[in-house]
């Protein structure tokens, strides 16, 4: 291992967190990478005007905002509360304790679970991948390590609640989730963010789904105005593993988000449902990606969006079938409706196929306005126009919302969506 040579800001973070040296070494290398990597050109998001500022790290003892606190108090399942990157509270349900589930700080796991940590940490979302993943590795303030032992099937979700208060530094956190063979986990990440300064923020989730395990990953993000938010969540599937995503995004501000299943294991499967509600002047780009590597892998992507105000939302569904991934099957559906004529929607389906022996590969994308004849029909039964419009939009979004793993999460997303639709 090399020497830690950097001064700020890595040293600042490392000293404040008193972390294992192995982590600091990673940070140091990643910071150099971050500084050397070019700003990439994204097709739909202009990064030229991004100030790549990271601010000055301070361990935060900010009070938890009322909304987030109220939400956490309602949770009946296992959760961790993470404020400005630092873990404030970990609560394990009886079920999780009985089944031997580990939920701990990702920094502590480096020493406590070295074998698993070393095998997966930074391998599923490597620092080298992009300027913002390098940034995350260099400056992440914390996150969770979740391990579900072999054969343990968890009914209730394990949820990480991320709270970002008004900050003086980049919001960076990363978690690692590992499910051992034949286990089952419903994992969730929920974000409460206050308007976020001018910084570049980067959030990472790495998931490894062991052989024949099943992981459902649900996210409810609401990034706020200010700065830019990069979100990279990726799950890698072992043989016969199953990975399902439910993404419910109601972000404001500027965000570039990716969820991806790397279907490396033979016979692995993944289904991603994405629901996005754009509002205000939000510029949100969400990519749902399926990378078929193993044989006989299957995937489906379903994205539904509704847009208000001057929001610009980009949905990209990307299916990649690599050479050797014989017998792969995939489907994509994107549907977006513009509630207000001032909004802008882009639905971009992408198929990258390098294997001839493919089972099936379907895609459909549509962008449209609310159908006035649907509105007329509902109104003809006495339903006021504004209510009719809301019902139709909910019709687009409800499948994803219903797939969320807890009442608390569903209620939260419903209230976030209703707040924007009822205006």
């Amino acid at each position: 291992m090399g020497e830690v040579t950097a001064l700020n800001p890595v040293l600042r973070v490392a000293q404040a967190l008193q972390e294992p040296k192995a982590v600091t070494v990673r940070r140091d290398a990643a910071w150099k990478l971050y500084e050397s990597l070019e700003v990439p050109r994204l097709e739909k998001t202009d990064l030229r005007r991004v100030a790549w500022e990271v601010g000055e790290f301070e361990p935060s003892d900010a009070p938890v905002p009322e909304a987030a606190l109220g939400y956490v108090r309602e949770l009946a399942h296992s959760y961790a509360l993470v404020v400005d990157g630092r873990i404030r509270e970990i609560h394990l349900s009886e079920e999780a304790k009985e089944k031997g589930v580990v939920v701990t700080s990702i920094l502590e796991a480096c020493d406590a679970h070295p074998e698993i940590w070393n095998r997966h940490f930074g391998t599923i979302v490597p620092a080298e991948e992009a300027k913002w993943t390098a940034l995350n590795m260099a400056l992440f303030a914390g996150g969770l390590f979740v391990l579900v032992p072999r054969g343990a099937e968890l009914e209730q979700p394990v949820e990480v609640v991320y709270v970002w208060t008004g900050r003086t530094f980049s919001a960076c956190s990363r978690s690692l989730v590992v499910t051992e063979p034949l286990s089952r986990l419903r994992y969730a990440e929920t974000t409460f963010a206050s308007d976020g300064g001018r910084f570049v923020n980067s959030h990472v989730l790495e998931v490894f789904a062991g052989q024949a395990s099943r992981v459902e990953i649900a996210t409810a993000d609401e990034w706020a105005k200010g700065g830019i938010h990069f979100v990279t969540r990726r799950a890698k599937a072992g043989n016969d593993a199953e990975i399902d995503w439910v993404v419910a995004d109601t972000s404001d501000g500027q965000a570039v988000e990716t969820i991806e299943s790397a279907l490396v294991g033979q016979g692995s499967r993944s289904f991603a449902r994405v629901m996005g509600l754009g509002h205000g002047r939000a510029h949100v780009e969400i990519t749902a990606s399926m990378r078929h590597v193993g044989r006989h892998t299957e995937s489906e992507i379903s994205m539904n969006g509704a847009l208000r105000d001057r929001a610009n939302v980009i949905f990209r569904s990307c299916t990649q079938i690599e050479k050797g991934a014989i017998g792969a099957g995939s489907e994509q559906h994107d549907r977006m409706i513009m509630v207000d004529g001032t909004a802008r929607a882009d639905a971009i389906p992408m198929l990258l196929i390098d294997e001839n022996d493919v089972e099936r590969c379907g895609h459909a994308a549509s962008v449209g306005k609310i159908d006035p004849l649907q509105v007329y029909y509902l109104m003809s039964r006495g339903i006021p126009q504004s209510v009719a419009v809301q019902m139709i939009i909910w019709g687009y979004l409800r499948d994803s919302v219903e797939a969320l793993p807890s009442d608390a999460m569903r209620d939260l997303v419903v209230s976030r969506v209703e707040r924007e639709l009822a205006r």
């Binding site: 007329y376 029909y377 003809s380 039964r381 339903i383 019902m391 909910w394 687009y396 409800r398 499948d399």
Partner: protein, 261 residues
Amino acid sequence: MSKPDFVVRGLRVAVEGKEILKGVDLHVRGGEIHAIMGPNGTGKSTLASAIMGHPHYEVTGGEILLDGQNVLEMSVDERARAGLFLAMQYPAEVPGVSNANFIRTALNARRGEGNEMPVLQFHRRLVQKMKELSIDPSFAERYLNEGFSGGEKKRNEILQMAMLEPRIAILDEIDSGLDIDALKIVANGVNQLRSDNIGFLIITHYQRLLNYIVPDVVHVMMQGRIVKSGDAKLAEELEAKGYDWLKQELGIEDETVEVEA
């Protein structure tokens, strides 16, 4: 509650700048069933749509009054809450909105804030009405008309009517595409509602339905006008002799709406 009183006077309606209805008069009171018959393309659906306020149809003249109130000044939802109901020839499909949720929202909108029907009472009523109309219970949670067969859509329209208890119900080709059993069920649904509190306007181009729902008045529509009115016997006469007989009698060559260039 007073008997419904529904008046259409000198109604003219245009679609995309073309005049389709050229002066239609009707007077339907509670307890009455009026049938409007006529071949395809004579303006029957245009009349129904204009009464309900369909956005594509522009009223260019005449008036519509429900219980003395000017319907033409009301938005579509206000018309419905005032008691108008149209069972549509081609109802829209609305994915993601369950039938039960839709009907409950509609019913409560009609009953008004503070007077909503309790959920359990609503479901009991819904189940009861669905049974009467031989509708499968799974209908309640299916998405509104999505993937419904033609016959299922028609029965769903009647179910909504039965739940909403309108003052004036207009049924546009409710019989098309129904086999005889389904037709009887639908007719039975209408007959059960029959009372002084509701007036019906039943649009059809076959006499068949009128064997099961006996009308008080029969109107025949051609060229965007009512060209003849009579009692139930007129429908039987039309069935026996066909529309050509009437066309000859009235000296009409082309019964469809002719549009002047």
